[in-house]
C-alpha cells in the first residue's frame, strides 16, 4: 500500500517534470525542471532498493551533467530567441506522429510480453559469500565479473573528456 502510494506519486512527478522540460519556453527553466526530474528518478531508485544508483544519479546527473548544461546555456547568450527561425519544410506534426508510433510499439511489445511471459531465469552471477547490502553487491560485480567493461567505460570517459576539450577550444 505504501509502495503503491509512493510509486504513483513519484511517477506523476517524474512524468509531469518530463513534460515541463520539453514544453518550457525558457531554456534555463527547462534545465531546472530536468534537475527536479532527475531527483525524483533517484527517489524511485531508492524505492526499488538501489540506493547506490540513487546516490550516483544525484551526484552525476543532478550535480555534474546539469551544471554542464547550465554552463552552456549561460555561454550561449542568444541575441534572438533560438526558436525564431522556422524552416518551412519542417514537419513537427509528422515528428509527433512518429513519436506516438514509438509509444504504440512499446505498448504492443509490453502487451505481447504480458500474453506470453518470458521466463527470465538466466544464470545468476557469483555473489560475494555474504552479500549484505546493495553497495557491496554492485561493487563486487563491477570489480569481478564486469571488470573489462568497467575499464572500457573509463577509457570512454577519458576520450570524451579529451574530445570535449578539443572541441571547445577557441581556434577550431
Amino acid at each position: 500500500m505504501g509502495e503503491a502510494i509512493a510509486f504513483y506519486t513519484l511517477a506523476a512527478l517524474i512524468l509531469g517534470f518530463g513534460v515541463m522540460v520539453i514544453t518550457a519556453r525558457n531554456t534555463v527553466h527547462s534545465v531546472l525542471f530536468l534537475v527536479a526530474n532527475f531527483l525524483f528518478v533517484a527517489a524511485l531508485y531508492v524505492l526499488l532498493g538501489a540506493q547506490f544508483l540513487a546516490v550516483i544519479q544525484v551526484i552525476v546527473y543532478a550535480g555534474g551533467i546539469v551544471v554542464l548544461y547550465l554552463f552552456v546555456v549561460m555561454l550561449v547568450n542568444l541575441k534572438r530567441p533560438p526558436e525564431a527561425h522556422r524552416d518551412r519544410r519542417r514537419k513537427s506534426g509528422l515528428g509527433l506522429a512518429i513519436s506516438l508510433v514509438v509509444l504504440a510499439e512499446i505498448v504492443a511489445i509490453a502487451a505481447f510480453a504480458v500474453v506470453q511471459p518470458a521466463h527470465l531465469t538466466g544464470p545468476k552471477a557469483a555473489l560475494p559469500p555474504e552479500a549484505a547490502n546493495n553497495v557491496e553487491q554492485v561493487g563486487w560485480l563491477l570489480y569481478t565479473q564486469y571488470l573489462v567493461p568497467f575499464e572500457v567505460a573509463s577509457m570512454l570517459l577519458l576520450v570524451a573528456m579529451v574530445g570535449a576539450i578539443v572541441l571547445a577550444r577557441r581556434e577550431l
Binding site: I22, Y69, A110, P149
Partner: protein, 102 residues
C-alpha cells in the same frame, strides 16, 4: 489497490521514453534536444533497475552505471560540438544546422 509489479515500472519507463522522443522530434533548440536524450536514457535506467529487483540480481544496476557513464560522455561531447557550432554560426536552432544535409 493492486500491488506494484514490474509492468508498472515498464509503463512509466515507456511514457518517459515517449516524452523524450517527442522532445527530440518537435523542439528546435539543440540544448533541449540533448536534455530529451537524457530523459530517454533515464527511462532505460528505470527499466534496468526494475528488472534487477524482480530477478534479485544486481547486474541490472551495473548496466545502469554504464548507461550513466555513456550519458555523461555524450553530454560532454554533444555540448562541446554545440559550443563549436555556436561560435561559428551564432545559433543553436537545429533548423539552421543543415550544412551537411544533402
Amino acid at each position: 489497490m493492486t500491488p506494484i509489479t514490474p509492468a508498472h515500472y515498464v509503463v512509466l519507463s515507456a511514457a518517459l521514453f515517449t516524452i523524450g522522443v517527442i522532445g527530440v522530434m518537435v523542439r528546435r533548440n539543440v540544448i533541449v534536444i540533448l536534455m530529451s536524450i537524457e530523459l530517454i536514457l533515464n527511462a532505460v535506467n528505470i527499466n534496468l533497475i526494475a528488472f534487477s529487483r524482480q530477478l534479485g540480481d544486481a547486474v541490472g544496476q551495473v548496466f545502469a552505471i554504464f548507461v550513466i557513464c555513456v550519458a555523461a560522455a555524450e553530454a560532454a561531447v554533444g555540448l562541446g560540438i554545440l559550443l563549436a557550432f555556436y561560435r561559428n554560426k551564432e545559433t543553436v536552432n537545429i533548423d539552421e544546422m543543415s550544412l551537411m544535409r544533402w
